[in-house]
Amino acid sequence: MSTPVLKLVAQRIAMGVLLLLAVSVLIFVGTQILPGDVAQSILGQSATPQALENLRRDMGLNDPAYIRYFRWLGGILTGNLGTALSSGQDIATSLKDRLWNTLFLASAAAVVSVPLAIGLGLLAVRYRNGPVDKIISGLGLASTSLPEFFTGYLLIYFVAVQLQWFPSVSTVYEGMPFGERLSAIALPVTVLTLVVLAHMMRMTRAAILNVMQSAYIETAELKGLTPLQIITRHAFPNAIAPIVNVVMLNLAFLIVGVVVVEVIFVYPGMGQYLVDHVAKRDVPVVQACGLVFAAVYISLNIVADIVAIVSNPRLRHPK
């Protein structure tokens, strides 16, 4: 690979790291201004003043904020996320399982939805403005417009309760056979696919149609290629950058934005984990989750950028 590309890629990664640092400051500040007090939230309605006082002292809640920030950042850099205030468990350990579950669900949804969306997008372009295109777009938009909880409940009612094809409770655990695991996540994957499908499909369609206006497409047509060959050989490779961008955005959504789906299907992922700890004001966990989410988001976007750079011949072969 040539130097300008390498330089650009290195720049992107450095930007990403800087951005992550900035986000860490934001996360820390944000968790500081949450209303309520950690100790009070842990003990809840039945907190006695004595127990409250003991807990506050134990947690070192009296140190100044900037000291706590650097202590925290230092911990993260050495791989130590600390212990959860509420349960006393090691955050890295419990977070790892949850993150793995989330990635599993997200990748399953991506494996189904990305090829499906791009395929449907290509089809829509091939038969653009015809009935096929209209049906694909219409159904896609309808499925995206329905809120996740609604599609989720519909699927639970028909597929899990009436037909009993798949379980409505998607609890997965370590050591679960792979087949059972897939059956357990079938419904949430379907919901997620329906949610992200239309966005990617429509963007694919738009990006390729854009390219289709170019002169070289006309040349290809004139040299007698079939419409599908034109799309796959000439239009699609040139439309990759915007498509990858929107795919990455949706992948990020699949990882960081699925709390509702997790709650409905009782899936032990990161979202539920984060919400539980926000409710308990378990600041170290909230910070760790926030940082993981930020890292996922930033790295997926870096990947999108890099793909865009690499797929751009003008950058690959500079004059």
């Binding site: 309605q45 509420s86 349960s87 006393g88 409940y153 379980p167 009782v266 032990p268 984990y273 539980d276």
Partner: protein
């Protein structure tokens, strides 16, 4: 067998429908008496305890922040799981009486200040060690340590010392307390090896099930402990599992699709719908839990007794029970005590909705302008609707209630027990003394109505040391009347616990001490083969 008949015969077996009623309804469904009778006997036969299988419960009230340390328990799931793997010295029965558990007998000195518990012999912990009086003493020490974060710290506050004496444990109290044995049922006070001082989260107890999987906020699994001391009485299923399902719709769907056998917290709103689902039985039982509107007796304008009376008369209790609880509950009488409590006097006059009296007292109070009521979704299920109903019933008495909706996040730290007029709930306590000591005694931390009444305090302390039940009952009656007439609490309703079971569940015992059959559903029930 039709679902209807199936359902009815199970109702008979549960004792919720008489044989005669059953035959009548069966006839209405076009079934002969002989066939109906044979159905009945097969349903009754199926009710004998069945061993084995995995009994699963889908429950609300678990989070990934839960821990196995009994001192930290607050919510339903860890506490209900704890009831299956751990045990206390005593256990409160569905009728409100105490049964021996890890203590075989107990008694007190004449002044109710020194209590002696004889500790059961031959009880094994899940790690194979035998439970000793030393473990009991250590457990009590851990929960009464001022540095502990135990939820039982308040309960343990009145205990001066706990000592071992041979095979007994002696509690010396600061003040007399005739109810001390009841306090020992507190779920935090489960006996752990060495009191759990070294490893509070070890999850080792003496219960019928031992912990095998503990994934907070996801699921908790126990398998039968072969050396359980109470053998056949508890723990019929080979394995039990609690799956945390906080979403009400998902919980109901899991029951319907057979993924779980029982669920807690069926919302009153949907009970009638769930009832119609084939194979599902609603298990509702009147309990001690109640919803409250609390006014601070020492803060203007609520320091005016006439205003408090006006607010009490302006509450339409029947309507609340009908609308908010859909009939799954009973009306309250502005005291936290109802007939579910031991030593309850049922001859206290029931306060009724009376706009005229409300208007009279309101005028007498001289208050002018709106009364600000703070509420939130989390105050209790239907709290916002209840506030609006109250607003309407009060308006008819000429009282303007301004409802302010607060965020649920932070409600318990910023609004409840801080703001002068708000909505809240209480889960109830085993005895009247505990309920009053927790929230109405002038020195209580959670005196959330800021109720400072000398006569009441005096009666409370007197009753606590009184071992004569008739005299205690009379004292409690007086105390209830004082709270009802002078207190800052408005109690519109007592809510039922509403759980649901599938047709595979046998042996359900209605127990109003807590939801899920007093918390013991998983070890009391069995799977019908």
């Amino acid at each position: 067998m039709s679902n209807e008949l199936d359902y009815l015969s199970r109702r008979v077996a549960l004792g919720k429908l008489s044989r005669r009623d059953f035959l009548g309804r069966a006839a209405a469904l076009g079934v002969t008496t002989v066939f109906a009778n044979s159905l009945l006997s097969s349903a009754a036969l199926a009710e004998g305890p069945v061993k084995g299988g995995t009994l699963k419960a889908g429950m609300q009230g678990g989070a990934s922040t839960d821990s196995l340390d009994p001192a930290t328990w607050q919510s339903q799931v860890p506490y209900k799981f704890g009831r299956q793997w751990g045990e206390q010295l005593v256990e409160i029965q569905p009728d409100g009486k105490l049964n021996p558990k890890l203590a075989t007998e107990w008694g007190s000195s004449d002044d109710a200040k020194v209590w002696t518990f004889k500790i059961r012999k031959g009880v094994q912990f899940h790690d194979g060690k035998e439970m000793t009086p030393d473990d009991v003493v250590a457990t009590m020490e851990r929960h009464s340590d001022a540095n502990s974060k135990s939820g039982a710290l308040g309960v343990m506050g009145g205990i001066e010392s706990v000592k071992k004496d041979g095979d007994t444990v002696i509690f010396t109290l600061k003040e007399a307390n005739a109810d001390l044995p009841f306090l020992m049922d507190d779920y935090h006070l489960m006996i752990q090896p060495g009191g759990g001082k070294d490893k509070p989260t070890a999850g080792i107890g003496t219960g019928p099930y031992k912990v095998v999987t503990d994934e907070p906020g996801v699921r908790h699994i126990g398998t039968k402990f072969p050396n359980y001391w109470d053998g056949d009485k508890r723990g019929h299923a080979e394995q039990i599992e609690i799956i945390v399902i906080n979403d009400a719709t998902a919980r109901t769907a899991a029951l319907q699709s057979g993924q779980v056998h029982m669920i807690n917290r069926v919302e009153p709103k949907i009970v009638d719908l769930v009832k119609r689902v084939p194979g599902v039985t609603i298990q509702n039982v009147a309990g001690k839990g109640h919803y409250v509107f609390i006014a601070h007796c020492n803060t203007a304008p609520f320091d005016n007794m006439d205003l408090r009376l006006a607010l009490k008369y302006a509450m339409n209790r029947e309507e609340m029970v009908k609308t908010i609880l859909r009939g799954y509950g009973s009306v309250g009488n502005d005291t936290p005590i109802n007939k579910a409590y031991p030593l309850f006097s049922d001859d206290i006059e029931q306060r009724k909705y009376d706009p005229d009296k409300a208007a009279f007292h309101y005028k007498k109070s001289g208050h002018d302008g709106a009364v600000l009521l703070r509420t939130s979704d989390v105050a209790f299920p239907g709290a916002i609707d209840a506030a609006q109903l109250y607003q309407q019933s009060a308006a008819k008495a000429g009282i303007t209630i301004e409802v302010k909706r607060e965020p649920g996040d932070g409600y318990w730290s910023q609004v409840w027990n801080k703001q002068p007029f708000s909505e809240s709930y209480w889960g109830g306590r085993p005895t009247q003394d505990q309920m009053f000591s927790t929230a109405y005694y002038s020195k209580a931390d959670w005196n959330d109505t800021r109720f400072f009444n000398e006569k009441f305090d005096k009666l409370l302390l007197q009753a606590r040391g009184e071992l004569d039940e008739a005299k205690r009952k009379a004292m409690y009656r007086d105390m209830n009347v004082i709270v009802r007439d002078e207190g800052g609490v408005i109690v519109p309703m007592f809510n039922d616990f509403i759980d649901a079971t599938s047709k595979k569940v046998g042996g359900w015992v209605p127990d109003g001490n807590q939801e899920m059959s007093g918390g013991y559903a998983l070890s009391r029930c069995w799977l019908i083969a």
